[in-house]
């Protein structure tokens, strides 16, 4: 099937922006409040109330545009989308139809590699535009009736609309992952999918390989997880292919998705399509966006994650795996770079600690699962981390200089993580300093060589079996309680057996 058919996907991603107040009203918003506690006269659409646009919501939208290299138009404007529904307080939604806040743009994505430590293919997905609108309330259903909570009504939503550039469920997942990393790193949005902060509509069509015309598309609404998007695309593309192969036509329709059953269903067909009667909102004048604002916000655009990954791999010689882990969390990557600045000669060594041991300890501390499917943006807090970047650099330096062994370093790291003490202080206090006293070590090595129990290994070594020398190292380590410098042991053994 995959050889014969091409799947064409465009996404409309709705992201709740990171603001304190709502987009057209001053009521606060946030997760976990009692119903209708975050509602003011404007949110409720009481007669006589008027919307006033929240500056932060506009600036976060512009920042998004800058993050994806979009054009920020000189002006943007809001329109009314008219439709009746109990969760829509004014029975029109304020949105941007003709003059959105950002135009164009592109997002770099990375597809999964053949293995975890192999980087996959990179691709650019074009953004058509993004517009700033208001969220609606929430309806819940009980036996006899339905209940409406308007806490979510008026929450700033940025709708990010892609071009139909995605070609598989995997690409759609990779796009959403990359988008979430960009949005969170720039502070545009938190994208917590469990709290419904990112929702997605998927436009899917299929065509035979080589066809240049797009097939009839369907739109599946309100997908609220990345796995939901992936499953829905797989389901919907298979359904469409089966339809066409059975000789049926695809109907242009709006569909829903049942995540529990992993099945899509028809919401309404084209004939029932809404007539939204869009027109410019007369309450909100056209907004001029100054270039001063755009230039000021440009300074808040962080380095693009995949640019950073390339820099880590090419300039700092990091392995792909460590680089990809670090760039997923801006704070962690920044932390890592501060550490590298303190000990520039072994970035890979520092990366290894930061991407593995440190991240593991931090996530164990906060109880989050790192890098799971639904938390592509690693959510760990470095605020409570007792180890400072320069201290980790100090630890790596001690191992690099042979002062402690890698084995000892693990022990020191554990202590550093729980106390925040310097590596050197721990080494001194525990007497862990690796034994590098040649005279004393030479004596021990000589004693071990003299032990008849190792005579066989010595003979093999002398006969040309290089590996046989390792059998002597264990007893030496044992006698020095692990404090001996392994490099020195090796050198001494070769000298004395020489």
């Amino acid at each position: 099937m995959s050889n014969e058919w091409e799947i064409v996907i465009g996404l409309e991603v709705h992201v709740q922006l990171h603001t304190r107040a709502k987009v057209f009203a001053s009521a606060s918003w946030g997760f976990g409040k009692e119903p209708n506690e975050q509602v003011d006269p404007v949110v409720l659409g009481l007669p006589g109330t008027l919307p006033v646009v929240n500056r932060e919501a506009v600036e976060k939208s512009i920042l998004f545009g800058l993050v994806v290299d979009a054009e920020i138009p000189e002006q943007c404007a809001w329109d009314r989308k008219n439709y009746f529904y109990p969760d829509n307080p004014k029975n029109y939604q304020l949105t941007q139809k003709d003059f959105p806040v950002t135009m164009g743009g592109k997002v770099e994505i990375e597809l999964p590699g053949a293995a975890r430590n192999i980087m996959g293919e990179h691709k650019w997905i074009r953004i058509h535009h993004a517009h700033l609108e208001e969220d609606v309330g929430k309806l819940s259903h009980s036996g006899s009736g339905s209940l409406v909570d308007y806490n979510r009504a008026g929450v700033p939503l940025l709708e990010i609309v892609t071009e139909p550039d995605l070609r598989s469920a995997a690409e759609a997942s990779a796009f959403l992952n990359a988008l979430v990393v960009k949005l969170t790193q720039a502070g545009v949005a938190d994208c917590d999918m469990e709290k419904g902060q990112l929702r997605c509509d998927a436009n899917v069509s299929v065509r035979r390989m080589g066809d240049t015309q797009l097939g009839t598309r369907t739109e599946t609404k309100n997908l609220n997880s990345i796995s939901g998007v992936r499953d829905c695309i797989i389901y919907e593309s298979r359904r469409q292919i089966a339809q066409i192969e059975a000789g049926h036509k695809i109907t242009q329709e709006t569909r829903g998705w049942n995540a529990e059953m992993s099945r899509g269903y028809v919401l309404r067909d084209k004939e029932d399509a809404h007539d939204y009667r869009y027109f410019p909102d007369p309450d909100i004048p056209t907004l001029k966006i100054s270039r001063e604002t755009v230039n000021r916000l440009k300074k808040h655009v962080p380095e693009a994650p995949f640019d950073r990954q390339r820099r880590y791999i090419e300039k700092l010689n990091l392995p792909y795996t460590a680089a990809s882990v670090l760039i997923a969390d801006k704070a962690l990557a920044d932390w890592f770079e501060t550490a590298v600045a303190a000990h520039p000669t072994n970035a890979a060594g520092i990366a290894n600690w930061a991407a593995n041991d440190l991240l593991r300890e931090l996530s164990a501390q906060s109880g989050t699962e790192v890098g799971s499917d639904e938390t592509p943006a690693v959510k760990i807090s470095l605020d409570s981390c007792l180890i400072k970047p320069a201290q980790l650099a100090g630890l790596v330096k001690l191992t690099d200089e042979g002062v402690i062994s890698k084995q000892q370093a693990k022990e020191v790291f554990t202590e550093m993580f729980s106390t925040g003490k310097d590596a050197l202080a721990i080494v001194e206090a525990k007497g862990l300093r690796q034994n590098s006293d040649t005279g004393e070590l030479e004596k021990i090595v000589a004693e071990v060589i003299a032990d008849p129990a190792v005579a066989k290994s010595i003979a093999e070594y002398r006969a040309g079996n290089e590996k046989a020398i390792n059998a002597l190292k264990g007893p030496i380590m044992k006698r020095t309680q692990g404090k001996a410098n392994p490099v020195m042991i090796d050198q001494l053994l070769r000298k004395l057996l020489g």
Binding site: G45, P47, G48, F84, P86, F279, P282, D283, I284
Partner: protein
């Protein structure tokens, strides 16, 4: 000059209060007596909380005694149209739909009046959701013209105009979308101004057509009207279409040079009653005699004004009134099985015929396949009308016309013909479409019914309009005229 308290202008009350010759309580008590004598007959007020207004009067008198007078309006009653929000008071818009709604907040203008110490005095009848020119579309009650109780007072601010003409209150707030302040002002022989769009905050004014609506002052004299506007016209960040202080400071300065008045070409031809035409001509002649230059101005797109207005206004209204669905507040139908059925039934039961008619028209002009032919063309026509007016107002200080082509008609006379009623607004509509300030000034009678003339000026030229109107008022006896009741 008038001697009874109810006949006094606000300016006169203000100076008597300042001189200690009168108390706010005495004013309010006199008006309450008048209210009991006349309101049933006139139907201007929909409600009046006597205890509350007396308490407000006492508070004002106490402030005065303590030397803490807030403004020249301190202690003076101002009545409020039913579509302007007053915290704790009904906000019915004279509709069954909002019969039970109590506003949990104050409109900007009400806050401004309260901080000026004015007494928020009772609520005034109107056409339902301000849609109408006769106040016959009120679901609460009928209002009658104080000069002839068989006639309509005009509308939609019919309660406001009738209350002033019958001496029930010295000052009132109206709202004007296509003439709703000026047309009833003309029919009732009082002064009414629609300010420049953006001069007065719309926060707390229930929207009919947001791009046209303005709250404005209504009074019996030009000085009173100006006094009230001064309090209303302050910046408000809650209305993005309201001018900020920088924009306000760009007010045109009154010039010493002689007045130039524009008269639209072919003005007194089509549809203007003979006595209205005569009164208007007399006003033109008066200004000429005072040294004004009278210039004919060409406004060829005026014939587009009525259709343009009704397309824009009903389109916006169809969306503005969508929120009245019985879900969050207001009338909810008792019988419905689904939310959509409930919303549909609530709207069908809650709205009157004119509101339904305009919602249907507005829905049509925005609907798929028709929006380009109607709504989009209307916006383009609006551009043209505005450009023509602004160009004319480069050459003249103001444009003079009748306010309404004919005097107040009989109650029930035009209810069956909406188009005939829509044409009542032919002179007043362009100022709304172009966002310009406009004023109706009493200038005579047609039979026993008052008529007014209409002045339209450049943006923010309110003070120029008031000055010109004052010149006329001072030389005539139409101000503060009151019918025998």
């Amino acid at each position: 000059m008038a001697e009874e308290i109810y006949q006094l202008s606000a300016t006169e009350i203000s100076s008597r209060l300042a001189a200690g010759k009168l108390t706010s309580r005495a004013v309010v008590e006199a008006l309450i007596v008048r209210y009991h004598q006349l309101n049933k007959k006139i139907g201007a007020f929909t409600s009046l909380d006597e205890k509350d207004v007396l308490a407000q009067a006492d508070a004002s008198d106490a402030r005065r005694k303590a030397g803490k007078v807030l403004s020249p309006l301190d202690g003076i009653p101002v009545a409020i149209k039913e579509n302007i929000a007053v915290k704790g008071q009904p906000l019915t818009c004279s509709s069954k739909m909002l019969a039970n709604l109590v506003s949990p907040y104050d409109a900007h203008v009400v806050e401004a009046l309260k901080s000026a110490g004015a007494i928020i005095y009772g609520r005034l009848n109107m056409d339902e959701f301000a849609m109408g020119s006769s106040t016959e579309n009120s679901a609460i009650q009928k209002t009658f013209n104080p000069w002839d109780l068989a006639c309509i007072p005009g509308g939609s601010s019919g309660g406001s105009a009738a209350s002033l003409a019958s001496g029930l209150v010295p000052l009132a707030l109206g709202s004007d979308t296509g003439g709703s302040i000026r047309q009833p002002a003309s029919h009732c022989g009082i002064v009414g101004m629609k300010p420049t769009y953006g001069l007065v905050s719309r926060f707390g004014l229930v929207a009919f057509a947001s791009s046209l609506d303005q709250i404005g002052p209504m009074a019996r004299t030009i000085a009173d009207c100006e006094l009230l506007l001064k309090v209303l016209a302050t910046p408000d960040a809650r209305d993005m279409t309201c001018f900020d202080s920088t924009q306000r400071s760009q007010l045109p300065v009154a010039t010493e040079k002689s007045l130039r008045i524009g008269i639209p070409k072919g003005l007194l031809g089509k549809g203007v009653g003979a006595e209205v035409a005569a009164a208007t001509q007399a006003a033109i002649d008066f200004y000429k005699s005072k040294g004004a230059t009278i210039v004919e101005v060409d406004l060829p797109s005026s014939e587009l004004a009525v259709p343009t207005y009704y397309v824009v206004a009903t389109a916006e209204a169809s969306s503005n009134l969508a929120r009245y669905d019985g879900v969050r507040y207001g009338h909810r139908s008792a019988n419905a099985k689904t939310p959509i059925e409930m919303m549909t039934n609530s709207r069908s039961e809650g709205f009157g015929p004119e509101v339904k008619r305009r919602i249907l028209l507005g829905t049509f002009v925005l609907s798929a396949g028709y929006a380009d032919a109607y709504y989009v063309r209307a916006l383009r026509a609006r551009s043209k009308i505005r450009a023509e007016h602004l160009a004319a107002l480069e050459k003249v200080d103001m444009i003079l016309s009748p306010t309404v082509p004919t005097p107040a008609f009989k109650v029930g006379e035009k209810v069956s013909d909406p188009l005939q009623l829509y044409l009542e607004d032919i002179f007043t509509i362009p100022a709304n479409l172009a966002g310009l300030p406009a004023l109706s000034v009493p200038c005579g009678k047609s039979g026993h019914l008052p008529v007014g003339f209409h002045l339209v000026g450049a943006p923010l030229s309110e003070s120029k309009l008031f000055a010109a109107a004052q010149l006329f008022e001072s030389a005539h006896s139409f101000a503060n005229q009151q019918p025998t009741l």
